[in-house]
């Protein structure tokens, strides 16, 4: 079980590579530029990993995307929740 951390936009090659690598038990955390996925409801990863994609709230807030994420009921985490997630997964891979 792996936690995948994506830092680039959903239309980036980093995102495409991550999508190839995500296994059925893995989870995904979107940070930095990746939180713009809140603006991309058609992103295939939403289908690929339903209920296992999280967004970092402070990165949403600083970009003015927190209310859009809330509207779409996307699961968000504080930095503390990010650490908690890494506690559960022995391995993390960052896609940047």
């Amino acid at each position: 079980m792996i936690l995948h951390i994506l830092t680039k936009a959903p239309d980036s090659s980093a995102a495409a590579q991550m999508q190839q690598a995500v296994g059925a038990q893995d989870s995904v955390l979107l940070i930095e530029e990746a939180v713009t996925a809140a603006l991309a409801p058609a992103w295939e990863a939403w289908e690929q990993c339903p209920s296992r994609i999280f967004l970092l709230l402070e990165d949403l807030k600083s970009r003015g995307l927190a209310s859009i994420a809330a509207e779409h009921q996307l699961p968000t985490l504080e930095m503390d929740g990010f650490v908690a997630l890494t506690e559960q997964y022995t391995k993390t891979v960052t896609w940047y």
Binding site: I5, T7, I31, E32, E33, E58, D59, M79, D80, F82, V83, A84, T86, E87, T90, T92, V93, T94, Y96
Partner: protein, 130 residues
């Protein structure tokens, strides 16, 4: 309680990675874990520059890492090969290369890549920020 290692590969002001890494580091400690070390590689070596002088209303990332070291004794290791290419050197490297100045000093330490692999082995978790 777990041991965490961080790998930082982005430069301050050019990449958000150092900011994310620093916030993560404080959250790791706040949850009662230990930080076994931070390794700076690729453009991340610029975090160690003692000459950075951002505007006063911006965070000085060098000072923020140094503070993390002071408060929690976190080792701050910088890949020597990546650093020398990019214009980061400590006093002894400056002497070796015949330079008049240096811009890297403790708590940042120049070290080899082996240190990164050792950190990955030793830590329960290695998180990359890039």
């Amino acid at each position: 309680m777990m041991q965490y290692g961080l790998l930082v590969m982005g430069a301050p002001y050019s990449s958000p990675a150092p900011h994310s890494a620093l916030r993560f580091a404080h959250a790791v400690l706040a949850r009662g874990h230990q930080l076994a070390g931070v390794f700076f590689y690729h453009d991340g070596v610029h975090n160690a520059s003692s000459l950075m002088a951002p505007p006063q209303d911006e965070l000085n990332m060098h000072d923020a890492w140094a503070e993390l070291h002071q408060q929690h004794a976190v080792p701050l290791d910088v890949c020597i090969a990546a650093a020398l290419r990019r214009g980061l050197m400590n006093e002894s490297e400056a002497q070796r290369h015949g330079k008049q100045a240096y811009n890297l000093s403790p708590p940042f330490e120049l070290t080899g890549l082996g240190q990164l692999l050792e950190l990955q082995q030793r830590a329960d978790r290695l998180i990359t920020f890039a």
